[in-house]
Symmetry: C2
Subunit: 284 residues, 2 copies
């Protein structure tokens, strides 16, 4: 997905949010905003937004000296999600179609994005999502592709959401590689976060090698690219992965909550919808 | 009111909105954003936001060649408000306290801010406001000051809202000067807009001399400053006038709808509240 003009004010908003999470020093925060403002004329609109986001978080780190401003938020998200694991697991097991329920829960878990929504209410969101329907209903294709697949690459997104991913991976029950960001960026999961979430019980965890809040293939590691090319099916979580992979070929299924009006318009959907999109099915 | 760090992403959002209203050319819109981004390091945080807003709209005009991007929106707002005049007038006349009702309606009219809220629903908002209570309840002081005042300076804000202002001025029934922006900026009223709204039937219309979406005294004309200093009471409409006059002395009453979280926090109020604030009463 390209960068839309509407993304530009949002880059500054993200910079502000991350800087304020990293420091209480207003001068440093202003310096971050000034640096990010300086990047704007160079933003390539043909690149996906995560390309610019990596520069923004680089500026936050450079100016504040804090490399992981959302560390405690991530930790809290994981602990909260782990405390809900048994409850979520029994919702899945007791449901009529455990796979469908696990998919919905995995998308509900994607709502745990402190980077986009600092006032997130965990319990309320889960109830909301369980009562909501999926948009872009590609579930039949998802199930069919899954049945034939032997190897799955699962692209993680946020810390905390990782616990929900674990339940979906368990429900699928196939040979799975779980890929995460190479370094801390926003509240995205790293190898450490995936491990704390218990992903290693159900999948092999690797780094994508990418330092952006998405999966930009030209910035990924050879090991990851090898898995990406050979996987029978790719399950991609969240907006950042969607933004960076929406134009790629292959059996990619995007599971995300639509958190911004730009992605909503791009998908022809309403904000706040839960999306399950088969990348091979074009609608529009 | 100073410029808060949260205002900075919003400046870019305003630039985008105004540029998109002025042109369909994405390259020009990007150029506006680049120019406004270039201004960010120079923004004096101690100045009120309208100081920066005038630079933003200057950039929009320079790049797009359009000096009044919201001209048709303003025209529509005025026509819509004029069509409601009789209905609004009878709400006021038939109410228990016509002055209180006219104040509430004048603040409801302030919700007509296409600059801040492009999806405004006129009828819904009026119903909402008539059912809502005023926050910062300085109405007693307002009424008392009004009783003693012989001359009133009324600072207009948006086009369309002007018609609501006319009703409040009629209800007050005192010698009033109505001041507007010197040039078109966002959807703020100019002399022409005030005339089209029928303000000349109830007040003398003057330009403040200010080219910002607010009333920055150091940028105002001598004639205006003379009226400002001599007026027994000043009624100031909207956020822009509040932002630029909140630290001034004198019998200023601010009537506004809180449209952004920064002003809400500054006032210690919730967003969307209707405010009637006597500048001489400090709360906090």
């Amino acid at each position: 997905m390209k960068t839309y003009l509407e993304c530009i004010p949002c880059f500054l908003k993200q910079a502000l949010h991350a800087a304020q999470a990293a420091t209480k020093d207003e001068n440093k925060t202003k310096q971050v905003l000034d640096e990010v403002a300086g990047l704007i004329p160079q933003i390539p609109l043909e690149s996906p937004p995560p390309e610019t986001a990596r520069l923004i978080y680089g500026a936050v780190q450079r100016v504040t000296g804090v490399s992981d401003p959302f560390k405690s938020h991530k930790e809290e998200s994981i602990q909260k999600a782990l405390s809900l694991y048994d409850e979520l697991k029994s919702i899945v097991i007791q449901s009529q179609d455990p796979l469908h329920t696990a998919v919905k829960l995995a998308i509900a878990g994607n709502a745990i994005d402190l980077g986009a929504n600092p006032d997130f209410d965990f319990d309320k969101e889960i109830t909301f999502f369980m009562e909501s329907e999926l948009s872009l209903e590609h579930y039949a294709s998802f199930r069919q592709t899954l049945e034939k697949a032997r190897t799955i690459l699962y692209l993680g997104d946020n810390a905390g959401e990782t616990v929900f991913d674990k339940i979906l991976i368990e429900t699928i029950g196939k040979d799975t590689v779980y890929a995460v960001r190479d370094i801390p960026i926003i509240n995205d999961a790293t190898i450490e976060d995936a491990q704390k979430s218990g992903i290693n019980d159900v999948a092999r965890i690797i780094s994508s090698g990418c330092d952006a809040p998405g999966t930009i293939l030209k910035r990924c590691a050879p090991e990851f690219l090898n898995v990406f090319q050979k996987a029978d099916m790719i399950i991609s979580k969240g907006q950042g992965n969607f933004e960076s992979l929406s134009t790629e070929q292959g059996p990619i299924f995007f599971l995300l909550k639509v958190k911004c009006p730009v992605i909503a318009r791009h998908l022809g959907e309403e904000p706040d919808k839960m999306i399950l999109k088969d990348n091979r099915i074009f609608e529009g």
